[in-house]
């Protein structure tokens, strides 16, 4: 059963408790908002694991009194995920344990890999994921800047897909606010057909058309021709539904997914790929992420997604 609720509303009616709470803290206050809500609602969190994303070459586990910190290198997803599993092992994780992951600050490649590993290793079947949206975004002279440049467009590990030798490439790209990243994915893959997925309804009305305008080159590209599908920016199950309901004729070809939209949309794509191994997933790794003057401002709603993997 899929379920999307506002966290505050759910806390009013249900008693939550987790053996492991995993989150990624970054300069944005919303990255630790869920933790604050859970702690102030006296939700029992037996083990808190903080992920710290860095532009590093390796991963480290640092144990403190009240929680554990794992440094996760942006570009070395396998190393970072291995550390997470290592720590869970050390903490004697078992199949009956309850996990909650706040995906707000977690990099999309990590999200994809972590869920893949959890499912493949049959670690648990039920999992709660939380996401806090920003209330608004601010634009500077260069636009909405979350990252700098593109290092390369890479396939996510464990999402190789199953290539049909004679099939067309169909790119499904979740649009974000950084249009140049979609352009780079488009030119790197050069698909025969492109479907752009727009986060609609957006978090707030003022951004309803922002992704469209920021990605107009993609939308005007010959493989896309303004072929836009819509799925809620905050509800991953709508993205999952869109992907699941794609015409059968598409499934004869080679689907490539680029999750560069909102985090919930990326989650929806990930849930799809966990069930359909034929889809490839690619991601445009930036040279670096912005750590100051971030576009996302203030704290919007916090959602909880209760999944069965």
């Amino acid at each position: 059963m899929t379920n999307t609720q506002e966290l505050n509303s759910l806390l009013e009616i249900a008693k939550l408790e987790y053996d492991y709470f995993i989150y990624a803290k970054n300069p944005e206050k919303r990255s630790s908002n869920a933790l604050n809500i859970l702690q102030s609602s006296e939700v029992k969190l037996n083990n808190i694991i903080e992920l710290k994303f860095e532009d590093a070459e390796s991963s480290k586990i640092i144990k403190t009194i009240d929680h554990n910190v794992i440094t996760c290198p942006y570009r070395y997803v396998l190393a970072g995920t291995a550390s997470i599993l290592e720590l869970l092992n050390e903490l004697q994780f078992s199949n009956d344990d309850k996990i909650c992951i706040d995906i707000t600050g977690i990099d999309a490649p990590y999200l994809f890999h972590l869920l893949k590993v959890i499912k493949a290793k049959k670690m648990i079947s039920k999992i709660d994921l939380i996401y806090t949206a920003p209330e608004t975004y601010k634009k500077n002279t260069a636009g909405y800047v979350f990252s700098k440049g593109i290092r390369e467009v890479k396939q996510l590990p464990a999402y190789t897909g199953r290539t049909k030798a004679n099939g067309m490439k169909i790119l499904l790209i979740m649009m974000g606010f950084e249009g140049y990243r979609s352009n780079e994915v488009l030119s790197s893959i050069d698909p025969e057909r492109t479907i752009a997925l727009n986060g609609f309804p957006s978090y707030s009305l003022e951004f309803k058309d922002t992704s469209i305008l920021e990605n107009k080159d993609l939308l005007n590209s010959p493989s896309c021709k303004n072929n836009v599908s819509l799925a809620s920016a905050h509800d991953p199950f709508e993205t999952l539904q869109i992907l699941s309901n794609l015409p059968q004729s598409y499934k004869k070809h080679n689907m490539i997914i680029a999750p560069i939209g909102t985090k919930p949309m990326s989650l929806g794509a990930c849930l799809y790929c966990l069930n359909d191994e034929s889809a490839r997933v690619v991601f445009p790794y930036p040279n670096s992420y912005i750590t100051k003057n971030l576009p996302a401002e203030k704290i919007g709603k916090t959602w909880i997604y209760q999944l069965i993997l």
Partner: protein
């Protein structure tokens, strides 16, 4: 060639309008329509400010309306699930529960209005049986757990309040255990609160508009520069008064800048949609929905 093409000051604004027109607004506009609309205004400054206003317009195209209708169903399901969690009830399959316990009713007086049309699309998109769609509340079976209304916009909330008072109360005497829900694609916070205060309807907006989306409110996201905001307000108000003296900035002073594929609500500034008194609208309203 049109004015705004030649003037470099207009370029960034018209480029945005062109892009929106191509990608979102279903190519509803062309240079002639824009020119004619701008001709309503007397000075170049007014024309520039109005063109800028136009670039901030929110238009829900056909694809987006369909998406909102699908999201509305999702919203309904999440709400019912929430209630079940709260009451610790097991609903079984949620879609089956809805098909057996929920009834959808057309809003307001006239079945030809936009609410009914939306309901039809809502049914098709979400693959619901026609047997759970009714024209009036009085026909809904007494076993109904939920009666759901659907409409595109709740601005002031008065229409819903009137409908409740004039029709629903009388027609729902037999529905003693039924909860009333109102799925609205775009709902202003003010309107939502009004409906919930004045009726027993629980409103579930898909897009919620607080004060920030009133063009000239203190917290307006459209204008951060107060001086400019007042200047634009003055223009809209003065021309609006000649068109609708009591609603120069939209019905109930809503000050909205929204339109849909099927129509423009009267909560939006009349200078956008009216063709009264020889005015050339930019997005014409179908007055059948007034």
């Amino acid at each position: 060639m049109t004015l705004f093409f030649k003037d470099p000051k207009f370029k960034p604004v018209y480029q945005k309008i062109m892009d929106l027109n191509d990608l979102v607004w279903e190519k509803k506009l062309d240079t002639m329509i824009i020119d004619q609309w701008l001709d309503n205004f007397h000075t170049k400054t007014e024309q520039y400010l109005m063109l800028e206003l136009l670039s901030k317009f929110t238009y829900y195209n056909e694809n987006e309306i369909k998406s909102l209708l699908v999201s509305a169903y999702g919203r309904l399901k999440n709400h019912i699930l929430f209630l079940a969690l709260k009451n610790q009830t097991d609903l079984g399959d949620l879609d089956d529960f809805i098909k057996n316990n929920c009834y959808f009713v057309g809003t307001w007086e006239n079945p030809s209005k936009s609410g009914t049309h939306l309901l039809y699309n809502f049914r098709l998109l979400n693959r619901l049986p026609s047997s759970i769609f009714y024209a009036t509340v009085k026909d809904v079976p007494y076993t109904a757990k939920f009666v759901i209304f659907l409409d595109d916009i709740a601005g002031s909330g008065r229409q819903a309040r009137d409908f409740w008072k004039d029709r629903v109360i009388n027609e729902s005497q037999h529905l003693t255990t039924t909860q009333f829900l109102y799925l609205v694609l775009v709902g202003s916070t003010k309107g939502v609160n009004y409906i919930e205060q004045k009726t027993k309807i629980k409103v579930l907006p898909i897009v919620e508009l607080d004060e920030r989306y009133n063009l000239f409110s203190d917290s307006s996201i459209y204008y951060t520069d107060n001086k400019k905001k007042q200047q634009v307000k003055k223009i809209c108000d003065s021309y609006g008064k000649k068109l609708y003296s009591t609603a120069s900035l939209g019905y109930d002073n809503s000050q909205l800048l929204i339109g849909f594929h099927h129509n423009v609500p009267d909560n939006t500034l009349p200078i956008i949609w009216t063709n009264k008194n020889g005015w050339n609208p930019i997005f014409q309203r179908n007055e059948g929905d007034a």
